[in-house]
């Protein structure tokens, strides 16, 4: 088991109350969290990455406790070593694609310079076949190129696990099948565990070694 999640969280917005209770145990390397929008999938993903602090429960990744309300552990996202690919990729609009990929492996208070060439960065740019557009800004790229940039940016930091939030939802329909197989191939080679959330059954078919269904904030058997 590489990831164990058992968290409770209550959200109140505009008088509405949403209760999340996610109890998940991931044993296979490729896991899909499947369910309609509003099921609590994104909240769960954010809690795992440390972008949200659950009210109660615990999260364990491999041999590390990332969160535990009992022992007061709440690691900041910086220390979790989890790659996160956002639904709309969240690329830094002021940085070139190469600078975006170099972001996590550049220390200090300044971004990598446009001319900087880092070995790990170049390797991933080539592996994801985006090296020919590496000097472009994100808004100049196609959806597929942006997605692969977000993926490279996460993978170059050598995370222990990868979280993907609806990675194909922002793409044209005819591109999805092709990009699914590309992504699957790259992630198989990288060999890191991944958790993908989606409401698209076709994603389940490709990535779902293990499938967990969620609805209304709960895991559905």
């Amino acid at each position: 088991m590489w990831l164990e999640v058992d968290i409770e969280h209550r959200l109140t917005a505009a008088g509405q109350v949403f209760d999340l209770h996610a109890a998940l145990q991931f044993t296979q390397r490729k896991v899909v969290l499947f369910g309609p929008s509003g099921a609590g999938k994104s909240l769960t993903l954010k809690a795992i990455a440390g972008l949200l602090k659950p009210t109660r429960g615990h999260i364990r990744l491999l041999d590390r406790t990332l969160f535990s309300s009992e022992s007061g552990v709440h690691l900041p996202p910086q220390q979790r070593r989890i790659g996160y690919v956002f639904q709309d990729y969240a690329l830094f609009p002021h940085l070139t694609l190469r600078q975006n990929v170099a972001f996590g492996v550049t220390r200090g208070w300044r971004n990598a310079k446009r001319g900087d060439r880092l070995e790990g960065v170049e390797k991933w740019l080539q592996a994801l076949r985006i090296d020919h557009v590496a000097d472009a800004l994100p808004h100049q790229l196609s959806g597929g190129q942006r997605q692969r940039t977000a993926l490279a940016r996460a993978l170059v930091t050598e995370p222990q696990a990868l979280l993907l939030d609806e990675p194909f939802a922002a793409l044209d329909h005819h591109l999805r099948a092709h990009l699914r197989s590309t992504l699957d191939q790259v992630l198989d080679e990288a060999g890191i565990p991944l958790l993908l959330i989606t409401h698209d059954p076709e994603d389940v078919e490709v990535f779902g070694q293990q499938v967990v269904r969620m609805a209304d904030g709960h895991v559905v058997p």
Binding site: G50, Q78, F92, P93, H94, G104, W109, R153, T157
Partner: protein, 235 residues
């Protein structure tokens, strides 16, 4: 008509350089103070947040004389800060150019922190979250993501604040007075020249001030316009 004597001309330039010095320092202070406060108010929720925002906006709506009076109460010989500075360091701020800097900085602070807050709020917080998941420190998130994306809005505010600081009159008059060559800024020199009936001198100073302010506004408009075009390109 009074003729411009050599003595007068020398003083005119000293008023301009003093105004530039005071406005420069005030803007530098607001670069740090206004930007930090803008970031704080945009990204952190704490009790009294909107009250703090209102208090910091006060200098924009209060009569400058009221601002000057408050400042005298604080930094004057009997004020808490003034008494402490006097007893600890033997420093008296009142009637110095440093007092003019403080007056100009406070008067122009809202023009920096307001746009700074708006600019930071305009930065997609998901980008900051993405930076965190990539393992960089909070300071790096600020300097590598938030600040570069909010920068143009902040810069426009800084230029407006510089122009406002150049024009500061009321509060400066009260805390720094009007000592030629030492605390007599452009706007105060104009007032003094008109009072003394030195029309030529007043005319020159007025034109000088207008030119400096127009240049600043043109630069600000250019930066803001550039930002809007950039955003259109992205959209």
């Amino acid at each position: 008509m009074a003729s411009a004597d050599p003595e007068g001309t020398r003083l005119d330039w000293s008023a301009l350089t003093l105004s530039l010095k005071v406005a420069g320092w005030a803007t530098a202070i607001n670069l740090v103070l206004g930007v930090s406060l803008g970031a704080l108010l945009a990204r952190h929720r704490f009790p009294g947040r909107e009250l703090l925002d209102s208090l910091l906006t006060l200098p924009m709506v209060l009569p400058p004389t009221v601002l000057g009076y408050y400042l005298l109460v604080v930094i004057g010989r009997n004020g808490p800060l003034g008494a402490w500075l006097q007893s600890s360091f033997g420093i008296n701020l009142v009637f110095t150019w440093q007092a003019a800097v403080i007056a100009a900085a406070i008067a122009s602070l809202p023009l920096v922190f307001k746009p700074a807050r708006a600019a930071f709020e305009g930065v997609d917080s998901q980008l900051e979250q993405a930076a965190r998941t990539l393992g960089v420190t909070e300071m790096a998130v600020f300097f590598r993501v938030s600040l570069p994306l909010a920068w143009r809005g902040i810069l426009a505010g800084l230029l407006l604040a510089f122009a406002r600081a150049m024009g500061e009159f009321g509060a400066t008059m009260m805390v720094a007075g009007s000592i030629p060559g030492r605390t007599q800024t452009l706007s105060i020199a104009i007032y003094e020249a008109v009072q003394a009936g030195q029309d030529d001198k007043a005319n020159m100073l007025v034109v000088l001030t207008s030119v400096v302010c127009i240049v600043v506004l043109l630069v600000a408009a250019r930066l803001v316009g550039h930002r809007q075009r950039e955003l259109r390109d992205v959209a």
